[in-house]
Symmetry: C3
């Protein structure tokens, strides 16, 4: 369904330069937009695309008003990327997928009679909500989502297919060469406006609860161990693993595949790079990371073999500096 | 169910040296085969196993005809490993598991009334096919597979349990310390003869579609981000992660646990090694990789500590070369 | 539900110093326990917490009897951590979640008529048990668990939500630029008292079976390839990947994110560190590992760049030692 530019600025604000009656059929990136699409310029590096794009209307910041309006319709606003995000929400609202207008609890879902599901929450096909679980206002479990007993989700959360909340944490006591199960007696508490990607797992606590703060965004295939705490508005990309009892601050970002050992603390506003192995607490905000740099096979394998000789190379350099010979004397 | 050697060569070709009436009860590797099994020799490194195996019949290339036939029945063909693959398919065809003869849409599956499922497609137990999704001819969703709204699968695809296609891509605009959702308005388009392993996730596009080419093979627990494109006949092992908008060529292979950052391009016929972190585009076909080599704890930890001193070691060597002292002068 | 100390020692043994009538309402760690909680001291490093904890009763070893009893009730036993594990089991037994008292096969589960489920096994909501599968005595499939055809689980196993057992192994023969499927004709055999975490996948064998030994404990999001064998009482943390036909010994531990290439063998009693890439067989028990150490971005990126020059640095040191110049002569 197309929207008119007039309707868009009426809903989202901004200054329209162009015809309010003009309608746009879709949102598209600058490089692939056609004349019936609306696009946006958020990164000034791409400003030259203003000259080549065929977009019917472009969302721009004040700085690009003149260049954008010289070529056609535009909407001028403070933060084009944020405006774009709001526009996608408006678009979805005006073009709902049908599942959004179906019964709130799907007939194929299983909701335990002693679970508490808010009257505005949506439980999709094949979901499972076990005894004592609480699903808050407007929260949406997409499909095949599993919420274990006594786990609590706040309001306006989105949980994608295959997510498991409240599986047992991984806890065993070694005893005579075997593993004795430590029953996981805690739960999971998830705040408001949390989004959880497909097939992500959040384990229940061993004694206390695993806690996910308000506004946290988790990508797909993430593993959160028992008794982990994640601060508000922290975002994590796919395949991040957080081991038991680790506490991650608020407003952090964690790139794909990074892992945290257990029982450490990460300060607020820490940014972790891809595939980093975080083995100790981080007290200062900032950027951290570390991964083995890739190369062509012939190059990296030669260098990697020398990694095993670093102790010896350092020793030789030390000796060369002390006695000129490279040998210990 | 046993098959006769005559039936096998009638169906798959090759030259039988031995009795057409002889029957074999199973396919087995050379080292564990018994006299009622059929086996194959594909890697010439293992040619000496011809003397020790107890297999009733062996599939071999022309080069090993004599040695194989001297010890018993054999089938001579061009490519024994390919012949073996076809034989496994014949075996399955002759020994179907019952689910293959049951109703095509399982009674516990949920298929939205406005989804389009080809009359020959098979939708297994507990699957979910949302509104507007398209499932092509002969495609098989095994069990607990989730296909999101408006996602399209071609013909003759196999999708294993727990797969999620069309979960939302991970897109948020930062705004005043919080994350504003970018609704994911695109879909997923999957070609023909694609196989997707258990619990793998393929996210829908933000604006345009995520696209998987014909003949692509994805192992288990893979994560494909929004707007990724994967070229025809590329194969990826478990735990590979591809970040948003990255474009991977055709006929590539990616080993387990490798990851790609977003917005890069990988050429056709690129082979990526295990756990490599691909941080920039690759323009040339070939072999690429890089991971930290493992060792006993006592060795690798010592060397890893020196990794942090590489800048200083390089400096000292440079000074030694310039002034013989190792110190800057 | 609270338990009395008398009831606890009656069930689990140990020597109670304090009132048998005293009741405790929950189990809690020393640092957060209140006066109605029972806690435990297993690591002597934390012995000073005996002076500060407010726990109503503490489980301690003989060595700490005096110090513990001086401050209040305590239970003295041989191994406090093992005692704690047994206490969590007693607690769960006395405080069952309702799903534990519901029909053994949930009405939303699909169990194939030719599957064999022991009369004491529990099959939770939305589970799938395919034809010919065998579920042993007392084994519990939590919810949305998928057991493929002819896969066998022993007794007293616990399988968490989203687990897939018996998806096809990843096997294809290359042929003229395409991949020809190798039908996976084997199964999966899982021993007794095995626990499998949420969304973990265990593939069926290509010809023979994939085999998981008695007492193995697998965390969430693990991937076990076709024809892998895992020895008894081995434990693996989240995101571990084991490639096809690799054989792992008994009593091993594998930390999170470690990966094994295919067709190798790992001895008994091997401990593998986080994110290690195990590329060859390990014959000796012991500790092994290796990952790139993380650091602040400004530090690790500088050092990582030099990784690519290690060959040249080693050459220069060699030349300095031989001829004092750093250049080859």
């Amino acid at each position: 369904m197309a929207l008119t530019l007039g309707f868009i600025v009426e809903k989202l604000g901004g200054t329209l330069l162009g015809s309010a009656q003009m309608s746009v059929a879709a949102i598209a990136p600058l490089e692939s937009a056609s004349c019936v699409d609306i696009s946006f310029l958020s990164n000034p590096l791409y400003v030259d695309q203003l000259d080549t794009t065929r977009a019917g209307c472009i969302i721009v910041a004040e700085a690009h008003r003149q260049r954008a309006s010289a070529r056609g319709a535009c909407i001028v606003c403070d933060k084009p990327y944020h405006y774009f995000a709001l526009l996608t929400q408006l678009w979805r609202e005006q073009n709902p997928v049908s599942s959004e207008s179906e019964p709130l609890i799907h007939p194929t879902a299983f909701v335990h009679p002693r679970a508490s599901v808010h009257s505005s929450a949506r439980i999709g096909p094949q979901c499972v909500v076990e005894e004592g679980a609480v699903i808050g206002e407007g929260t949406w479990l997409k499909s095949s989502v599993n919420i274990g007993h006594h786990c609590i989700l706040g309001s306006e959360c989105i949980v994608h297919p295959g997510v498991v909340i409240g599986g047992d944490g991984f806890g065993f006591a070694p005893h005579r060469g075997e593993w004795v199960k430590i029953e996981q007696l805690g739960g999971v508490r998830i705040g408001n406006r949390v989004e959880i990607g497909s097939n992500t797992c959040i384990d229940r606590g061993a004694l206390g609860d695993t806690v996910i703060g308000d506004g946290v965004k988790l990508d797909n295939c993430i593993q959160i161990g028992h008794n982990v705490q994640i601060g508000e508005h922290t975002a994590m990309a796919a395949f991040v693993g957080v081991s038991g009892s680790t506490k991650i601050g608020a407003h952090c970002t964690v790139a794909g595949g990074a892992g945290f050992v257990g029982h450490i603390e990460i300060a607020d506003r820490v940014n972790i790079g891809a595939k980093a192995v975080i083995t100790r607490s981080i007290r200062e905000p900032g950027e951290y990371g570390g991964y083995y740099p890739f190369d062509s096979d012939s190059v990296w394998k030669k260098n990697a073999a020398i990694l095993r000789q670093l102790t010896s190379i350092r020793e030789k350099v030390k000796n060369l500096m002390q006695n000129g010979s490279g040998e210990k004397k």
